[in-house]
Amino acid sequence: MPLMTLDEAIGTLVHEGDCVALEGFTHLIPFAAGHEIIRQRRRNLHLVRMTPDLIYDQMIGMGCARALSFSWGGNPGVGSLHRLRDAVENQWPQPLKLCEHSHAGLAAAYCAGAARLPFGVLRGYLDNDLAGHNPAVRRVACPFTGRQLAAVAAINPDVTILHAQTADRRGNVAIHGIVGAAREAALAAGRVIVTVEEIVDELAPAMNAIVLPHWVVTATVLCRGGAYPSYAQGHYQRDNAFYQRWDQISRDRAVFSDWMRQHVLQTRDHRAHLDGLRAAA
C-alpha cells in the first residue's frame, strides 16, 4: 500500500467513466478528494453515495457525473442540493441518470458487494414506487418459506474513496466515530483510496476498533482537513454554518461556477483551498 499525494492518487486510480463511491455518512466525507477529481476534470463518472451531500452537488454541477446511485439527496437540515436538482430537473450541465434506493436498500447493496455476493436481501421496498423506477431492485423467494423479499443488485465501485483520522506507515487505516457504510463501500471496491488527517508510526492497539488493513487499501494520502466542511471526530467539527451558506452559493449557476472556479479550480491543492476559505472568512 503506497503513500501517495492526492493528485497522484486521483490521477492514477480514478479513470474517466469509472464507478466511484466517496463515502462517509455526514462524518468523514472526502471533500478534498472530490475537489481533486474536479480539478483533474474526470468525466462520465457513475457516482455512488448514500447521501450525495455538498461534495456530489459540486461534482455534478461541475460536470463530472453521468449517473448517480444514492438514497437521500438533500443538504441535511438545510434543504435542497440545488446542483443535483438542476441536473435532474433541467439537465444542467448535462443529464444525470439516477439509480435511486432507500438507505436500507443501498446499504444492503454495499454489503453484498463487500461480501462479493451478486445481490443483497432485505425486507424492504414494500408497497412503494421505488422498485418500479430502479431495475437494481427485484424480488427473490426464500427457498425455505417461499416468502417474497426484496433483492438489490450488489454495488462494486471501481474506486471507493474515504477520509479517515489516522493511518500508520504500513497503510493500516483507523476510523473513529460515525462510519455509515464507508467500510462496506471500501471493501466492495476494486481500488481504495483513503485520505487521512495524520500518519503515525504505529496505530494504537485496535482490538475491536474500525480498521482497514493495509492490504485492503490501494493508496493512502496524507491530507489534513480533507473532510472539511464535513468533519473528523477528534480533529475538527462539522462547519454547519458553511452547510447553511452553501444553500445560497449553489442556488444560482453563475454564483456556483464562480465559487468553484475561485475555490477549487484555481487552487493548487486542498491546503490552498482551505487557505482561500480562511482568507475569505
Partner: protein
C-alpha cells in the same frame, strides 16, 4: 401562552412519547420533539439516528443526522447497515418519525418528486430511511405542516407506504408495523379511522376551528366522533424547548475554525 405553530406541533408530538420507547429519529421537527420529550417527561427514551448513533443524548439538536454531538453522547455507534438490519428490520424500533412533502388520506408519503419521476417539476431529496421505517417501526408519527399542496388527494410518487388503499390493506400486506398512528400538523392531529384507515381529524390545537383544518387538507376531511382539544404548550415545556432551540442556534452559528490543510 403564545407559541408558534411549530412549537405547538413539537410539544404535541413530544407528548405522544413515553417511558423507554425506542425512537428512530429524523432531523428537524421530529428531532426537536424526541429530545424535548427526553428532556421533560420521558428521560428514558432511547433515540436512534440513522447515522448509527444508538441511545444518543445530545445537548443541542444536530443539524445533520450525523453531527459529532450524536456520536459523543451515544451508548454506541454502529455501522449504518446494522441500524437498518439489526435494529429497524429486526423489529426493535417502537416509534418512527417521518416527514414528507406530500401525504394522502391513507397516510402514504411522498418525499421523491413533484411531477413525473423522469421529468420532475421538483426533485425532492428522496427516500432515505423512510420506506423501511414506515414498514418496520411498530408505529410511526408523521409531522407535516398542512396545506392543500402537502395533504393531497393523490401522491405524485409513493415513497413510503402508510395504509395503502385503506380498508385494512396494510394489515394484509407484508409490513410488520402498525403504520402512521398520528399525523401531527400545524392545526392539530389526524388519526386513522379504525375501519377504513382514512386519516381523520382527531384533535385540534386551541383556537383552531374544524373549518380551518378542512381548508388546510386537500381531501374532504372527516372528523372523528370525538375531536379532542390539544392543550397548548405549558410554560415549562416551552421553556425547555426554547432553551434547546437557543442552544442549538448558537451552536450552529458558532464559527468553526477551518482546519489547516
Amino acid at each position: 401562552m403564545n407559541c408558534t405553530p411549530d412549537e405547538y406541533m413539537t410539544v404535541a408530538a413530544a407528548r405522544l412519547l413515553q417511558g423507554s420507547q425506542v425512537c428512530f429519529v429524523g432531523i428537524g421537527l421530529p428531532s426537536a420533539a424526541c429530545n424535548l420529550a427526553r428532556l421533560t417527561h420521558a428521560p428514558d427514551l432511547v433515540l436512534i439516528y440513522e447515522s448509527g448513533t444508538i441511545g444518543t443524548r445530545p445537548t443541542v439538536l444536530p443539524l445533520s443526522i450525523g453531527d459529532g454531538e450524536l456520536a459523543l453522547t451515544a451508548t454506541c455507534v454502529v455501522p449504518l447497515p446494522e441500524v437498518f438490519s439489526h435494529y429497524l428490520q429486526a423489529g426493535r424500533v417502537d416509534v418512527g418519525f417521518l416527514g414528507a412533502a406530500q401525504i394522502d388520506r391513507y397516510g402514504n408519503l411522498n418525499t421523491t418528486v413533484i411531477g413525473p419521476y423522469d421529468a420532475p417539476h421538483t426533485r425532492l431529496p428522496g427516500a432515505g430511511g423512510a420506506p423501511e421505517i414506515a414498514a418496520h417501526a411498530r408505529q410511526t408519527f408523521v409531522m407535516l405542516r398542512a396545506t392543500t399542496r402537502s395533504c393531497v388527494e393523490k401522491l405524485d410518487f409513493r415513497t413510503s407506504a402508510g395504509y395503502l388503499d385503506g380498508h385494512g390493506a396494510r394489515a394484509r400486506s407484508a409490513a410488520p408495523g402498525l403504520g402512521p398512528r398520528a399525523l401531527i400538523t400545524d392545526f392539530g392531529m389526524l388519526a386513522p379511522h379504525p375501519l377504513d384507515d382514512e386519516l381523520q381529524l382527531s384533535a385540534l390545537f386551541e383556537g383552531v376551528s374544524r373549518d380551518q383544518a378542512r381548508a388546510a387538507v386537500g381531501w374532504p376531511l372527516r372528523c372523528a366522533d370525538d375531536v379532542a382539544a390539544i392543550a397548548p404548550p405549558t410554560a415549562a415545556e416551552l421553556a425547555v424547548l426554547r432553551d434547546l432551540q437557543q442552544r442549538t442556534r448558537e451552536a450552529h452559528q458558532r464559527p468553526v475554525s477551518i482546519p489547516l490543510g
